[in-house]
């Protein structure tokens, strides 16, 4: 294998950069520092688990169409799994956010880790919002008509019309989940690169 700094191909150079940034033992570590043995460090992976449930249940709903749950008990079951998976996803993510905020988790060159997490949270809210708009019931009509004026006043109505069901459905099942997964994937890779943030020091210790 040609060393990455001598390879003429862009794929070889990308491999070199990736291996330097995330060597295998850092990408998939088999040990963690002692301070990670705390329940507050569990909520990140709980958020990922809930996201997995949301994606799988959403894929099942997509197979039969979004109106499936209105007339089928099986569809209703998967719709409920999708809803409660989302509720748990947000609950775990907010507790994770609280823990990291009070830990000042942006310390030690972890600013991008914090920023990608915060932006993933905001994009997740937009994703859940478009989900409420695609329920195909009076609730989604009510939410759409209540939201349109505020969103149109902000100027986004030109390309984000909450009363356009087809557009909202595609934002919900394609565009926004793609961005959420991209951000969360980047967030996890940054956690691997910089390591899990240690607790705040006690007394005169410097972070």
């Amino acid at each position: 294998m040609i060393p990455p700094d001598r390879t003429p191909t862009w794929t070889g150079r990308v491999r070199g950069v990736a291996e330097a940034a995330l060597p295998p033992e850092r990408l998939l570590p088999d040990t963690q520092p002692a301070y990670v043995a705390s329940w507050i460090y569990v909520f990140g992976v709980l958020t990922l688990a809930a996201l997995f449930v949301v994606l799988v249940s959403g894929a099942v709903i997509a197979l039969a169409g979004p109106a499936w749950w209105h007339g089928s008990t099986v569809g209703h079951f998967f719709n409920s799994v999708h809803l409660w998976g989302t509720e748990l996803f947000f609950a775990f993510m907010v507790v994770h956010l609280w823990g990291k905020f009070f830990m000042a988790a942006w310390r030690g060159r972890r600013a991008m880790t914090w920023i990608t997490g915060a932006v993933a949270f905001l994009v997740s809210i937009a994703t859940a919002f478009t989900g409420y708009l695609t329920q195909q019931n009076f609730d989604s009509q009510w939410i759409g008509t209540q939201a349109k004026d505020g969103l149109n006043a902000s100027g986004v109505g030109a390309f984000f019309n909450v009363l356009n069901y087809g557009q909202m459905l595609l934002w919900h099942v394609v565009l926004l989940p793609f961005v959420v997964c991209l951000l969360i994937g980047g967030h996890v890779l940054l956690v691997r690169r910089r390591g899990v943030v240690p607790p705040l020091p006690i007394g005169d210790e410097k972070p």
């Binding site: 002692a34 043995a37 705390s38 329940w39 569990v42 909520f43 609950a91 507790v95 823990g99």
Partner: protein, 55 residues
């Protein structure tokens, strides 16, 4: 027992709200927020099993 729980957490009836001045929140949302705060406090306070070994 189930009927009692249903009467407290029923999602089918009219929602109940707590409204004081500018502050307005549904009881269901307030319960969720309180549960999350309790979860946060427990996650900090409870010891982690097999924890404490420096690796």
């Amino acid at each position: 027992m189930f009927g009692l729980l249903l009467s407290v957490f029923s999602l089918d009836g009219r929602p109940r709200y707590i409204h004081t001045g500018w502050f307005l929140i549904s009881v269901a949302n307030l319960v969720v927020v309180l549960v999350m705060l309790a979860l946060f406090a427990l996650a900090i306070a409870l010891p982690f099993p097999h924890g404490g070994k420096d690796e």
